[in-house]
Symmetry: C3
Subunit: 457 residues, 3 copies
């Protein structure tokens, strides 16, 4: 379903590439209509570039709102304010208080990045906001003080404002391997807050999370198939800590608007997570609650077309990564529970980083340079352009080589003919003047002598 729409996005960029080459040919009626459709699409799909350009001339508060919305969507690697708006809608549907905390987190993280004079382009893409929204949301989700405990906004604001600092620091490390920081700042800061206060705290108590100490009660006959299917959208929703399937569904729509490839991989990842949960004999409750899905959703998106150019090999790699992420998720959840902590998105970060660090000798798995990463469709267009260029260069090199060979062959032929003539001439001369024979044997051939004379004059 998502793949059906894929070509439209891609052709857009393809066309751009083609247009540069042959701006002479007249577009047909159909091509014109298509172009107009693609232009219309670019107003709300992809990264909404025209809107972003228009925004950059507006009042700063309006700009910040744009950045906050883009930040909300960047959790799923989507740089699109419309998606962000829809995601905030989904959050409000889930819980007003959580949505408020998420908004506060994004806002303060963005403002902090401005104060710390971080890169303006990165701020405008929402890259300093997405950790903030997660920090805000999850601190509200895991707080044991109940909703509308207003004091929570204090550590929320502080931790959100720490996001750009931790992001920048991690960025300094990861940039050595050209890797993104993913949601590591969020993971670090939420775990920091939760373990610093803990369940037994007067000001900011956390929900009690304890390790499993006995065999879970699993009877395969009791499995609830509709709930199992429902766990797929719930898994997508759990990326933002939401267990409402409608909220998850809204998130899926918001992804589809910006990038169908991302949307498809999100759903695929959630399904892989659910299957892994069954394979590893997880309690059904955890699976229904989407706890096995959300990390796989993110890992599958990240590997499947976002940081690698999407090929069939990369698609398979994304599925393997989702399985690995599910395994890792269970492991990390068990370890973290010893400290009263949730798994957050550590499993996604670690598995995606591992798969991005992979090096192979095949050209079908191409890791995009971080500066070139946009969204899967645009990345794919970039990859195709790169491949075409390579092909052209190769063809040109081959052509040149062939021409060189032809010329060499011709020259040789010409020389041979000349030599033939010369030899005949010699023979003729010899027959007339037999004295020359001895000198010809030892001296250079005639045509070289001629060349020598030419140089001397």
């Amino acid at each position: 379903m998502a793949h059906a729409d894929l070509p439209t996005h891609l052709d857009q960029h393809q066309d751009q590439g083609k247009d540069e080459q042959r701006a002479v040919t007249q577009p047909t009626q159909l091509q014109k209509a298509r172009k107009r459709f693609l232009k219309g699409l670019s107003y709300f799909a992809g990264d909404m570039e025209p809107f972003g350009k228009w925004m950059s001339k507006q009042f700063i508060l309006l700009q910040i709102l744009d950045w906050v919305l883009r930040g909300a969507a960047q959790v799923m690697f989507v740089n699109n304010p419309l998606s962000g708006l829809i995601i905030f809608g989904g959050l409000i549907l889930q819980n007003y208080w959580w949505a408020l905390n998420g908004f506060v987190g994004t806002l303060f993280a963005t403002i902090s990045a401005l104060i710390l004079q971080q890169n303006r382009g990165a701020i405008a893409a929402g890259l300093y906001g997405y950790n903030g929204i997660l920090v805000g949301l999850l601190m509200a989700v895991f707080s044991n003080a109940g909703d509308w405990y207003w004091w929570l906004l204090l550590p929320n604001a502080f931790m959100s404002m720490m996001c750009p600092i931790v992001s920048s620091a991690l960025g300094s490390i990861n940039s050595r391997w050209d890797l993104p920081v993913f949601t590591l700042p969020f993971n670090i800061l939420v775990c920091l807050h939760m373990v610093a206060t803990g369940h037994f705290n007067h000001h900011f108590p956390q929900v009690l999370i304890q390790p499993r100490t006995e065999l879970p009660n699993i009877t395969w006959a009791e499995i609830d198939v509709p709930k199992l299917f429902m766990s797929v959208p719930v898994g997508v929703g759990q990326v933002y800590g939401c267990d409402n399937p409608w909220t998850g569904g809204i998130f899926i729509i918001s992804l589809f608007i910006s990038s169908p490839v991302t949307c498809a991989h999100a759903v695929l990842g959630s399904a892989v997570g659910m299957v892994s949960g069954l394979a590893l004999a997880a309690p059904f409750g955890d699976i229904y609650f989407g706890l096995w899905g959300y990390n796989c959703v993110l890992a599958c998106i990240a590997v499947g077309g976002m940081f690698y150019a999407l090929t069939w090999q990369v698609h398979l790699l994304a599925i393997v990564c989702a399985f690995f992420c599910a395994y890792l998720g269970s492991a990390i959840a068990n370890v973290m529970s010893r400290f009263g902590l949730p798994a957050c998105t550590w499993p996604f970060c670690l598995s995606a980083l591992t798969f991005l660090l992979l090096t192979t000798e095949t050209k079908r798995i191409l890791k995009l340079p971080l500066a070139k990463v946009m969204y899967p469709e645009k990345n794919l267009a970039y990859y195709w352009k790169l491949k075409k260029q390579e092909k052209r260069e190769k063809a040109e090199a081959e052509k040149k080589e062939k021409e060189e060979q032809d010329r060499a062959a011709k020259e040789e032929m010409f020389l041979n003919e000349k030599e033939q003539l010369r030899l005949e001439l010699e023979r003729m001369k010899e027959s007339r003047d037999p004295k020359n024979k001895g000198s010809r044997d030892h001296g250079p051939p005639l045509y070289l002598k001629v060349a020598k004379h030419r140089h001397e004059h």
Copy 2:
């Protein structure tokens, strides 16, 4: 208080810079007196360079003593044997046995660095000793075998001798980001010893540290304000594991001798830690005991002028870092307690490294290259020199540009005058010889023709 003395240190280096520039001008009586005072100050303040130079010609055992004392002070980033001596005094005031262990640790770490042929300059600055003193002290502090358990000196010596190895290894990693190793070797080695033996060990038992499992009993009415204020020097003392407020006070004095800026940030950091403890509802006992202070002390010193050049922005950053460090301290203490371990100075190391990895686009937050780091006052002088040089270069560049513009303007004016003259001449010629008109319209102007002729000849 500390800031009042600041200019004296700075001017000293300022003067040096100025002297280089204008050695011609005669110093006044006041300037002479000031210079003499500053020279006198340099004999015991700062890094005691003259003393260090004198020492380098002495007997090796005496040199090692100097290095050990500098090592003792380097825990607080102070490269000053007098401060080290005072610190040892404070330790003896606290506990003879601990002081002995600290001395053994510093000594063995320094000797080990010599055996392993580490950089002699770094050894002489005490950079291989400070982890040793902490290893020695804290192994004694956390030992459950009681004071004067002589066998403890065995693992103490072994672990101290491992310090340079771990330091060197961590240095190889951190140098990629131009970062110091801080007290990471100490943290690693003490945790290693404590968790390798544990509370239930026949040879080297450790004190029992257990995680909190119930709500602490906090009644705000019972708060003891004098003890709260006392917790500030105690926090400084806890850097060396000492809970005696007098020992803490002595440490503050030792800092003041070498560098008032360091001293001020130490006190500030300890206060921030205390406030954070109250904000996060920590048990009062922990706060009084200085457990919330010592990491903030170190973090505040490190960021506030030691590795960054001290500006107002950096000063604020140091305070933020101290708050972050306090948060992190609580988190790490809770995590480590699950393994029966204290927090050591992990929170300081991690928070300071995070803040040193921060990159911004503002010039007011300048991270000094590691090779240029001395002490805050000298760093500041370096920063000012750098800024002045930049200003001068900028001014020169502007001046040059202006001169260039002036010259260009003059030339243009000159050319214009010439052209005016030429045109008048032409007009005069034309009026006399009307045949020339047609050729002049299409051909190049006369002065170009002249140039052409010049080239042809």
Copy 3:
């Protein structure tokens, strides 16, 4: 014993080096016999290069078998299929099911590396198999489902196939410091599997590992000395998770075949581990079971001649590293037991990496570039060659310098003689023509004038 055989290996390469230099000299009868012996040795000792070359032309399945056997031996840094075969023999002696799992693990890891198009040379050296065999073996060892639980082969195959991915990712990181990945992929993946499932799991239950919570019962009178000595081969066997002393003995033989230096360091490391266990008051059962030995075995091999060129200093460093590793082993075992995990070979990896990151200013501790690492004997030959070359270069440089000096001295002498003559000539001229005097005082000396004239003509 092992060192007695050492020269044979080394001379082999030494001879090669010498042959290149003086291929003219006729070898004596003894030299010929020795050479033949060394050639025979190379067919089964070292890395069996002739066999490897012959294999590379065989059918792919046979090649894979070679790679699997080399992979089995690479756990101990041995690149030798015969050693691998003997090791599989030892595993079969221990437990059929474990051996099968080990084989499956190596096979799948190697195949996965082929699919992921990893470096063919590395695959052929077994560098993608050794983590696989450990994953397979240890998953079987720590499974609580009993032997012949066939479902275990599923996660075994999956985790083995993840090995090349994790290896490649870690390799990308470690290559920045020119460090190997050691058995880190195995550690990560086995811990992942164990903690993801845990003791309370329906599909893949793990053995119950719990932290120590009371003083172990140690009475020194009850110590069993023969068992203590037996713990040395058992410690070598525990590298593969085997507690049978005969299996350990077989492993020692397999090491001796390929590289006596490796074998000696393996035994030495195991002994150091046993001593450390006694020093840290470990329960005797753990020591007898070889748990204190296996990490030290690996650490001692890695540092003692494998990644450093073997000198006396390096030999001592290897022993220190083994002690450090034993300490670290106890620490990590205690920490991991909180999560129900064994220590695996984390202690070896961390201690060896620390010691490989060490930098010193002495030339006697030379870390080989990773691309040049073969086996201790060959590494030593490389080191000697390097040293000889350096010596030669130094001698040549000295010779050149001396020649330069001689020539300069001669020239000076010559010039002096000339000048003497010139001066005498001058004096003679002057006596005849007294007018010249004034001009000679201010003008350049005569020989300069002559030079000037020469240039002008």
